[in-house]
Symmetry: C3
Subunit: 343 residues, 3 copies
């Protein structure tokens, strides 16, 4: 069996996503969210993919991404199996990575994988393309290189939070924190080529500045960007600021601790410098770079962003299995009335 | 969204349960048990909450309570996600407890949690009450302080086992073993205020006697109790004896080993001293305090008690999500005929 | 409740399986495979056992068998709970094996178990036969003694791969590798008494030759076998070769490493010596004993064999719960048309 080249199948690298795909995924995500608000809609979602089984193969510790995917599957009726501790895997018997992945594919219809090493998901996707019964591979984070589904949920949150002002097109977006080692900001930059007149501002300590490959990518695709270490003078012009934490787990000699984090944080003082309709995003988990007091400000959308991650992953699964048409053909009028009032 | 104060939402502390709630939960539990006996009834139960998702967050080792809750969810069609090893959680990235709990709440509709530290479930419930989309927190054991769902299943087992004799009201109930450190007996004592004319007998080594706060609670609520180290002379007057094991995992200097356990155990000799219609309960797991030979005596109800735990947790979930009305409106006549004969 | 002696209930020892049972299980397996090819058929399978719950108790590391059983359950709508790390179990509280197994049985309808110690599954089955609510025990591998469900999937793969030539009856089957310590080949030998005119050839280094108890079993049941260390001269006469890896995890002094594995391996050179319609099987995972280049040869059926494992386990569950009749009464004509084209 061969997979048509134009088919949305593996989800590996955000550089392959075009605007049409992004708009479709955002539209599906919004529909899913609406449906999920009522018990009737939630039951309908569960009937979309009960005949599918997923495998979550997470050899890098992760709570958030794991739960987000696991529950996205459950929303659609997909049954899940998980391998989260590589030590209990038969890899201890010396099996090759290729044989392990092919084994997983024998039992399920999609593999979601997260690894500490870069390139593993892409390697698994290539393996799939050479066997008689390939299953889609979803990259849920591979080392420091890419985290495509995080980028998609970030796009959705940006688009919908800025909806009243025309969406992402034409906006000034700040990216702050450990830009050198954060795979979420890297993936997000790659997707920016799909939007018109966006300008990026990188706000980072010099030792954690954005890597050259990303800057070159932006330059090639005609996306203007500036770099600064001065948050205060930058905040007033931003339509959105995407804050990230220090990725100290990649430290080689404690370099994170030498950063004056106070200069790259959002608290009440910084809020007063921001546009009234700007938004604050964060991929979470956070360290000290966003004061919990900020949570109550209407511009803080990171908790909604987190929950959007689950809905976007529902949309991705529907698109992969081509059941999105069933969803889009529904009349949502029946599902907008409040169903139950609590929880 | 705010949760009405009189709504059964979080399940944290048995001191907040009144008789009406206990009776309702027992009634729902009995209905669930009846339904579950036939395949048709079991399928009907699965249709009550398929649109809900649960998270089991167990940072304290537990097999029994975990399986009991996980399967209670499955009985109702609820999908479950689990975090059982805190080391694979993103807490390794330094996330606060508050942020972790809010994250879990983003993806599911109820959080069941068990922790080695006291007070954590109550803390999580308070956090929920301050956010826009609160989900119920169920305390599945928090340190040595409370274990409310265990207390509820104990009440159910007492009520139903003593049903032919008027239930718990008016009975003499012995509590034996490590009363000082056993959270199940503490929680059970709290619930006793809801029953009339109950008398309690604490049977424990002096160094593991019931704590003063519980004795004071009983005194305040007018519940008579006595303390003894003499099991043999006490047994003939008991309607029920609730046996517990030495909680040696809380030992600081091996104090459990210094107890003469033989004096606080049930074996064939003790059985002969008991009333013919008395019952023997135990929250399990057991050490040597109940001889396996006792299992075959009709007064031994602890295995049924264990399975009741699952049905009571089904009832709790139905009550939280207010689907108990659907259950209670069913005509059970159709479900009492034997369905399948085995397993 | 007592289980009739002729009922297929526990799945412990392949020596108890007769030809009629094997044929029935193969027939059910084929039906399941056909149904699963279309979304409609897959949904129908899910409606066969949604009212059942399974427990997977795996105290020996296993990816493949775990995933195979977990997904077999999911195919049928069975909900699963898992204990894979004995350290998180309440066995740390000193509970007996008997009490642990009885506890598991309180919450579920079937227990699938894999242990490093031999005889544990049989012990659990005996325990079940003494309690009021027994649940079936499925042995998913117990030490080095038996692995009955692996033997069943091997039988299915042999029967179906040799279908055009009359099935297993009358065939010459080679078993190669670490025959002394491989429980899969032991279990497979036990099943061979159910087939007519089969001849076995054991191809193994002398220090890993088949054990005497199996040879005696074959002799008693009139099954001819020969032993050799010369693969090349044996290959031309084989209808099937079942290759196994060195079970080095059971080494006491590194004895696996002293074997010249090159003499007990399949690569392009060996392929050229085989009959054009012979088949190559392997229980997986493999070490170096089958060159990945062999995967592309049509005689290599081990990947299909692996996936058959899931379908055979579906058949076993259906047979245990006596829902196979429902499956066999379906008209499969509606399900043979291609449903969806990918994944």
């Amino acid at each position: 069996m061969s997979v048509p080249a134009d088919r949305f199948f593996h989800v590996i690298d955000p550089r392959t996503f075009d605007r049409q795909l992004l708009d479709e995924l955002c539209e599906i995500t919004s529909r899913v969210r609406t449906l999920a608000k009522s018990p009737e809609g939630a039951r309908l979602l569960q009937m979309l993919l009960p005949d599918r089984r997923a495998m979550l193969y997470f050899t890098q510790p992760s709570t958030r991404t794991f739960l987000s995917f696991n529950n996205a599957c459950h929303v659609l009726g997909i049954r899940t199996s998980e391998i989260r501790d590589p030590a209990i895997s038969s890899e201890v018997k010396g099996e090759s990575f290729a044989d392990s992945i092919r084994t997983f594919s024998s039992y399920v219809d999609v593999i979601v994988m997260r690894t500490p090493e870069p390139g593993r998901a892409a390697e698994a996707a290539r393996l799939m393309d050479m066997i008689p019964r390939p299953v889609p591979i979803i990259n849920a984070g591979s080392g420091q290189d890419q985290h495509p589904t995080q980028a998609l949920l970030d796009i959705y949150t940006l688009e919908r939070s800025l909806e009243g002002r025309g969406g992402i097109d034409g906006k000034v977006i700040g990216l702050m924190g450990d830009l050198r080692r954060g795979r979420t900001v890297r993936s997000l930059c790659h997707l920016m080529r799909n939007y018109a007149d966006v300008r990026l501002v990188f706000i980072a300590p010099e030792s954690f500045a954005m890597e050259d490959d990303i800057k070159e990518y932006l330059w090639v695709h005609g996306i203007p960007f500036t770099e600064t270490i001065d948050l205060a003078s930058t905040l007033p012009e931003l339509d959105a600021i995407y804050v990230t934490r220090m990725q100290s787990e990649w430290d080689t000699e404690g370099e994170s601790a030498r950063v004056d984090l106070g200069r790259f944080s959002i608290g009440p003082a910084q809020l007063s410098l921001m546009k009234p309709d700007a938004i604050i995003m964060h991929p979470l988990p956070r360290g000290g770079e966003i004061d919990p007091a900020v949570d109550h400000d209407p511009r803080a959308v990171y908790w909604r962003q987190e929950r959007n991650g689950m809905w976007m992953r529902v949309a991705i699964l529907l698109k992969i299995f081509r059941r999105d048409d069933q969803l889009l053909s529904l009349d949502l009028g029946d599902f907008t009335a409040p169903g139950e009032t609590v929880a």
